[in-house]
Symmetry: C2
């Protein structure tokens, strides 16, 4: 391949570093009205009435909308492909503004004003009378008999309860000589902390409601807005400019449906709705906190005889992605070590906390922490070698998952482990560090993961792409798939260049999606785009290339099937002599007096297969036991993501994921007032996000496999890097101290109690 | 047909009457820099130097660009399809800014400033030193030996001289008993006077130069900007919002190439370049003034034996559309009465006046005035009946033009004449009015025309269209063809609805063109869009419809070829029972778990035929001889434009064209200072444009033919209505007074001299 695999600079690099790239906020009219949302100050109850008298007096107030005036329509918000089958549809459990208040921060009213100050002032002057119920914040409390029902459709607050069993767990554990290992693991609520806050603006044009929004999923947001407002899909138009990160938070309809409604209240005038950082923390989505109970039965030969898991996922106030998350987690539990009998059970439970939704790797960081911690707990108990044990039990080439039918078409996991082991000198150090004493100790840890790519076959995977020939032989590439900072535009451009036979400078990516004209795509999530949307690019490029060759054949009086395109020139297949430039073909195809033809191609791809990517994190830490401080000395992620399309952007993805994984393992968690349910650290000062100062040098390596199902052999890479970091750190801590901490983040507070309980400090 | 032919309200009516429709000026950033052009104050010469010192001192000046700093590239500006053959390419005779000054108003420098006031102030402070040559303003002066050469490529100032002959003129006039009629006719320079002035703004994004412009021809303007700047087509992006009229003036690159260059001077910052009304008059384009000498030889049986024409077209300073205009005129001379030997000769001549370019009906109003005046001169001399004479000699069904091969596939001209005659009681009144005496008299006049549709086969006719299915079963229609106020979006939407089988509310037209993603089309001119681009819509709709039916067939387990779409529902062919809604097909095709497919279609159409439309104007006037005033008492235009797609918008087109024709005949002309060449009436006060107060009730009728070459049977209608009005008025004046005035406008000044020369006033 000529272009695939090269470490090319991002196509949007120049725009972004020079500040020219346009984000939602850059496109707002200076005459836009400003909307602000009034959020509830109770976590559980009902709005009885509003006193708007003082608010209406604020000069500049244009409209005030309360939860009593919105359409009586409940709609879902999750960024899933829609299902035409009722039972597979996302749960529609919220309105544009909610009378029934379900968390501290629920949307109950909105003000539209001429400016920011007037809107804020009016918001402060609205008085609300509530009827208040006892809030429940934990899964345990929410599931207790007598707990307030949060949504009447789910009287016991359990959104979904599901289970599976592979083989017979009860039979399997009857085997003689099994070693039982049992543990509880839990993971915290965290927030995505994308740079750009939740942001949109809306107006009406040509009879349509247009919403310009920082979203990962413009076509899905169009569907959700149409459902929320009760209008046709075609009456809504979503435009997505560059966005400042998403990480799954924007795989949900956030401000868009309400914003779409608000513009209809003011005759289609432009209305801006931008959340503050505090609102973005508390009133968008957060990562599900999950609790797991795992029981394993291991044979003396180091193989699993049986495993079981029970998972509890704290959904918060609204369903959003709901059970899909924990289902993904307990499926991941099965897939990583598909050996012996396996039994899984999962509960997704409403509570009166902010809504949990999608976040990078969608449940797998949670199960990854639980499972890989549990594996090292097994190692600790049995004395097996952690690498040998993992290699013995982990998924192998050809594995077909009995539930999802997803097949392991390629795996380089074993080589990934070897590279990581060698980088860290893990095996030797592990033995060495196990013998330490004293207040400051070192430890090494590792964790592996597998990750399926996209959502097929659990849900629909479909994508489309369009290419238009410019008359100078360059190409416009139009994608429904979205650039969200991950470099999607760059890899799509590379794929187009590779397959058509053009150089990279000839590819112009139309980065902005506009649902009126952009080919359909469900958007950026599930690390699907390079794999799924990439197939649409490849298919479209093949059709486009053939159309170019057909015209070249006509011009050259040659059979187009004997021709090829190389570096912007038409050549004979397998020869290098340049017969004609693509620019000449482009000009002639447009201006031919006998055969003018405007060459373009548009194709959609429907996925009918899936595969797994893999990886490992090895980490070396130093713990200062009295200071309750962990310092990361060395860290490497090694990934099998199939063929690497662009090593430069791929490394960037891994760096970002490792940073998120470090934050997940060491610092980040959301705190709530246990009386009111108010989020306490809803800002960038109190929420401990990784900074460059906290970040060690991040090492990255790839084991490139050539997956037969991926376009160009690639597999998912976007989300996975974040998965194995936290358990690797936790396992390094176990190596250093012998203390198994089963809850993240491993922040000083938690280390203090763990060290104290283990008798390491007094 | 269900929809074609219905008098439907324009799809953009609501947007436009409520002021919501966005024009170029509405889209400018409030932070845009302002550019202004320095125009020469001599008509012929060379810029020797600039003194910019004082101009640079003006606070807010960001850049000053002079004619010494622009790329050394001469480029063409005409909105023609490009030809890859050198000899058919438009004349490249100007630079972005010109050192060699060729008219009073030539572009010689530009200022970019932070605001309007600074730009204007700096402009005033630039001092220019010229070397001045004697300017030439008339064709006669420019062609005189010794006249200054305006462009060195054309030493004698003749841009092109061409001629043709059908049969042998010299042989034909030898016939015995022929009546010879000879006359000179001339037409004035006028201006388009579209409401929105010449206007654009430009910026750089993603490495491209983006120009948002009020243009009729976005794809052509892209090509011209790329030629002018010497960059690839793909490096330029043109966006065309709604525009406030064009009438041919915007069938030329106007401010766009310079504006594209200016943004590159300021690092891609947005630069706004909007002309004042005065600049729009003098520095964009005007209608060619033409002079014609016509000689006819008529047999006593009322048939033409031979005719000849010599035409002189005053091109002004730059080639623009140049000879194409007068060639169209002398071709029209041949086609209208294709009888006997015909000989034509045409000169297009550079002068030191503003550049003449395209204007509604492209040379045909000029020849229409000359030819139909000449016919009534024949009538006056011979006593033939004007209707009988015209019907005897005019083009008949099946006519194939010997030069262009354009065939008369349909004609309703004879019926058009009959309707007009009856409306006015023309024949009776004509006889009656011929006998008048006294100071106030009445007169009736008529004139016919034929008009070929678009530019095939003289040039390329090609168009493309794209349709995208929304998931609610509505359709996005994307056209390269442009809405310029004429109602194009409405007729395209009707065509799409008709052919796909949807109701009008299901068609969403993407009105804005963006050359990055819009299907290719050369744009709005030559009344081509309904005919040429309409074929692209029809073809695309047929493909789109079949794709919908294919999916419906899959859903219904039926042969798609047995199915049809009627009023948004899938039905059996020739049955009415609704099997499935298109909305259901749309939703399922998108979300199908087994066969998801994103239905769209994109097709291009290459014209390989052409046809003629026809029409007639009948008018009754009253002339107050001493007051030198003509009042129009009654006027009707009757058109054969094939099938009328939308009677409401069609009538609107005819009304507008008649109003322009009235202005052309009665009031409008541009005056120039005969020493400096400065345009004297370059504003809406001194230029006498028709107002509602001047406009009589405008009657319109159609004779609908079903042209076999047009999509849905239609033929051109956009430009034609303006053609026959001026000669009809002139002929009515002849009827009223016996005075043949061979020059328009028939304003009081001209009427005074004509009446005095005829002895009607002293």
């Amino acid at each position: 391949m000529n272009i695939i695999g090269k470490p090319l600079t991002r196509v949007d690099a120049n725009e972004k570093v020079t500040g020219k790239a346009k984000y939602t906020g850059d496109l707002v009219s200076p005459h836009a009205l400003i909307a602000k949302v009034l959020h509830s100050t109770i976590a559980n109850g009902v709005v009885l009435s509003f006193d708007l008298e003082e608010a209406w007096k604020v000069p500049g107030v244009v409209d005030i909308v309360t939860c009593f005036e919105v359409p009586d329509i409940q709609f879902p918000t999750a960024g899933h492909p829609w299902s035409t089958e009722k039972k597979h549809q996302d749960i529609a459990d919220r309105k544009l503004l909610n009378t029934r208040v379900r968390f501290y921060g629920d949307d109950i009213a909105a003000v539209i004003a001429e400016d920011d100050i007037a809107a804020a002032e009016a918001l402060r002057k609205i008085k609300v009378t509530y009827e208040e119920y006892t809030p429940v914040f934990s899964v345990e409390d929410a599931m207790k008999p007598g707990a307030t029902t949060i949504h009447e459709e789910k009287p016991n607050n359990v959104v979904v309860h599901s289970s599976y069993e592979v083989g017979s767990f009860d039979e399997a554990i009857k085997e003689e000589g099994l070693i039982k290992v049992e543990g509880d693991y839990d993971t915290p609520f965290i927030q995505h902390c994308h740079i750009e806050k939740a942001s949109s603006f809306a107006y009406m044009e040509s009879g349509k409601i247009v919403v310009v929004a920082a979203t990962q999923i413009p076509h899905i947001v169009r569907r959700i807005c149409s459902q929320a407002l009760g209008v046709g899909y075609g009456d809504i138009r979503i435009i997505k400019p560059y966005i400042g990160g998403g990480f799954g938070n924007r795989q949900d309809a956030l401000t868009e449906p309400l914003n779409a409604f608000l513009t209809t209240r003011v005759g289609g005038r432009q209305v801006r709705l931008e959340y503050t950082r505090e609102e973005t923390f508390a009133c968008t989505r957060i990562r599900h906190a999950m609790k797991f109970h795992i029981v394993s039965y291991v044979r003396k030969d180091g193989s699993f005889a049986a495993r079981s898991i029970v998972a509890y996922s704290n959904q918060g106030a609204y369903a959003s992605h709901a059970h899909a998350l924990v289902a993904n987690a307990v499926n991941g539990f099965r897939m990583m070590y598909p050996v012996g009998a396996i039994k899984g059970e999962a509960f997704t439970v409403y509570t009166n906390l902010p809504t949990a939704g999608a976040m990078r790797a969608y449940g797998i960081p949670q199960i990854g922490f639980a499972l890989e911690s549990h594996v090292d707990d097994i190692i600790a108990k049995t004395g097996f070698d952690p690498i040998v044990f993992r290699k013995q039990n982990m998924m192998k080439l050809g594995y077909v998952d009995p539930m999802t039918t997803i097949t392991c078409h390629s795996t380089g996991l074993s080589e990934c482990i070897d590279i990581g082991e060698k980088h860290l000198d893990y095996t030797n150090k592990r033995k060495l560090y196990a013998k330490q004493t004293g207040p400051v100790r070192k430890g090494v840890g590792m964790a592996i993961f597998c990750y399926k790519t996209g959502v097929y076959p659990i849900s629909l995977e479909t994508a489309a792409s369009r290419m238009v020939l410019n008359q100078d032989g360059s190409l416009q590439l139009q994608m429904g798939a979205t650039e969200i900072g991950q470099g999607a535009d760059t890899v799509f451009a590379m794929m187009a260049a590779e397959t058509v036979g053009l150089t990279m400078d000839k590819i112009h990516v139309v980065s902005q999606q506009d649902t009126d004209i952009t080919p359909y795509d469900t958007g950026a999530y599930g690390s699907r785009q390079t794999y799924v949307s990439g197939m649409a690019v490849k298919k479209t490029a093949e059709v486009f290339r053939q159309r170019l060759l057909n015209f070249a054949g006509f011009m050259l009086h040659k059979d187009p099937w004997d021709l090829d395109i190389k570096d912007n020139f038409i050549v004979h297949k397998n020869k290098t002599e340049r017969l004609l430039s693509v620019a000449t073909v482009a000009e002639e195809s447009c201006y031919s007096l006998t055969n003018s033809e405007h060459i373009s191609a548009e194709e959609s791809h429907h996925c009918s297969d899936n595969t797994y990517s893999f990886g490992v994190c090895f980490v070396e830490i130093e713990i200062d036991i009295p200071m309750c401080q962990i310092k990361v000395l060395d860290i490497i992620n090694v990934h099998d993501s199939g063929t690497i399309i662009n090593r430069q952007t791929a490394e960037g993805q891994v760096h970002g994921g490792m940073s998120m994984g470090l934050g997940y393992g060491l610092y980040e968690h959301l705190e709530f007032d246990q009386k009111t349910g108010r989020m306490l650290n809803d800002n960038m000062l109190d929420y401990k996000l990784m900074t460059p100062m906290d970040t060690p040098e991040l090492h990255v390596a790839f084991v490139e496999t050539d997956d037969p199902t991926g376009p160009y052999g690639n597999k998912s890479l976007g989300e996975p890097p974040t998965i194995p970091v936290a358990p690797a750190i936790r396992n390094a801590l176990l190596n250093a101290t012998g203390v198994a901490v089963n809850s993240i983040p491993l922040n000083p507070e938690k280390l203090f109690f763990a060290s104290r309980d283990a008798g390491l400090i007094q």
